[in-house]
Amino acid sequence: METVIKEKIKQIKKGNQAAFEDVVSFYQNKVYQICFRMIGNAHEAEDLAQEAFIRAYTNIDRFDERRKFSTWLYRIATNLTIDRIRKKKPDYFLDAEVKGTEGLSMYSQIAADQALPEEEVESLELQTYIHKEILALPPKYRSVIVLRFLDELSLQEIAEVLEIPVGTVKTRIHRGRETLRKRLRHV
């Protein structure tokens, strides 16, 4: 598939706008999924995913063909989404990082063991519950968890998408995984 996409990108660079249609339809679900899992709202996710594709198109000349296109595209999508999350952030947030700590949020201060009422768990559809828990993660953990477990990217790829060192990716995955463990252990 990568070679087909490469060919399409060459055509787009030459000015063939129609070739972009295949690129969009090939990546639309992946990009939409990243945006949706990170922003948590279908309408905004659609908006962000669309914006990501338009930016990719207008900046296609800057894309280095020796690189992987998906990495570049996901980077545009995650950056846009993270920007949006920052803008809409209310002034007080449970997952705001506590000053002077790396990755410690108010969530970690709340007793996670407090069991959810049985009926609540049952009433909440499991899927929705998990989705909510992912959204409750601080954005920087959310992005690595989404890319790692929903898009199944390698650690190296995540590092390239987010432009952070692989070591940082690992730390964030570990912390995100621990937080989710606390939140999901009773499910």
């Binding site: 660079k13 639309q28 990009v31 939409y32 207008t58 995984r177 463990r181 999901l184 252990r185 499910v187």
Partner: protein, 216 residues
């Protein structure tokens, strides 16, 4: 083994597929012995499978056509800018030549007024610069946009840009006519009338000044 740090770090390493064989052995041994860590490990694995189990979402209907409808119209100039971006060397050379020739041409067409490099004792009449009989110009003489008539003498080179060196028509029959008037000029006589000559003259001048600088 320290449960809190070492064992949990190993668990995460395992989940990242980065565990070496010895580390794996170590972890397995510990898990068999420690109930608490076993639960922790189980919970972690379960968390991942729960997260992975959430069904993949797909983009809404008509997403692709929406994107395509919202793409900016292609711009023609894109082609040129792209070319320039891909050929920085040519771009630089083109800009250089444009500026160089632009400068020379504008200097050429600039002012049509008669100018002389040495004004002393020279007579300017109807676009003609005259070196009077009793005058000797010491040094090079440059006349722009006008003719030159030498009745006196010039001790140096003469350059006439956009003009002619006039023969001394008043003394047609005098022995000083023809090549002989050259006797009054001790150096070379240059006449520049065409743009290309003008360019050549400029280049020559530049070289000369470069070499004279080098000599100093």
């Amino acid at each position: 083994m320290n449960c809190k740090e070492e064992a949990i770090a190993l668990m995460h390493k395992y989940l990242d597929d980065h565990l070496t064989q010895t580390e794996e052995k170590k972890l397995r041994m510990h898990l068999q012995a420690c109930q608490e860590c076993q639960t922790h490990f189980h919970e972690l694995k379960r968390t991942i499978s729960l997260v992975k189990s959430s069904s993949p979402v797909s983009a809404p209907q008509g997403f692709t056509s929406n994107v395509m409808a919202n793409l900016p119209k292609q711009k023609k100039r894109n082609h040129y800018t792209k070319w320039f971006r891909n050929h920085p060397f040519f771009t630089a050379a083109a800009v250089f030549f444009l500026m160089m020739f632009g400068g020379i041409f504008s200097a050429w067409t600039e002012d049509q007024q008669v100018t002389v490099s040495k004004q002393e004792n020279l007579v300017i009449k109807n676009q003609v610069v005259i070196v009077p009989e009793d005058v000797t110009v010491n040094g090079d003489l440059v006349v722009r946009n006008g003719d030159l008539r030498i009745e006196g003498a010039v001790n140096g080179d003469v350059t006439i840009i956009n003009g002619d060196l006039l023969k001394q028509d008043s003394r047609e029959d005098s022995p000083l006519d023809g090549e002989k008037y050259m006797a009054y000029v001790s150096g070379e006589v240059n006449e520049v009338n065409q743009v290309f000559e003008w360019v050549w003259y400029h280049i020559k001048n530049t070289w000369e000044s470069v070499f004279s600088l080098a000599k100093e």
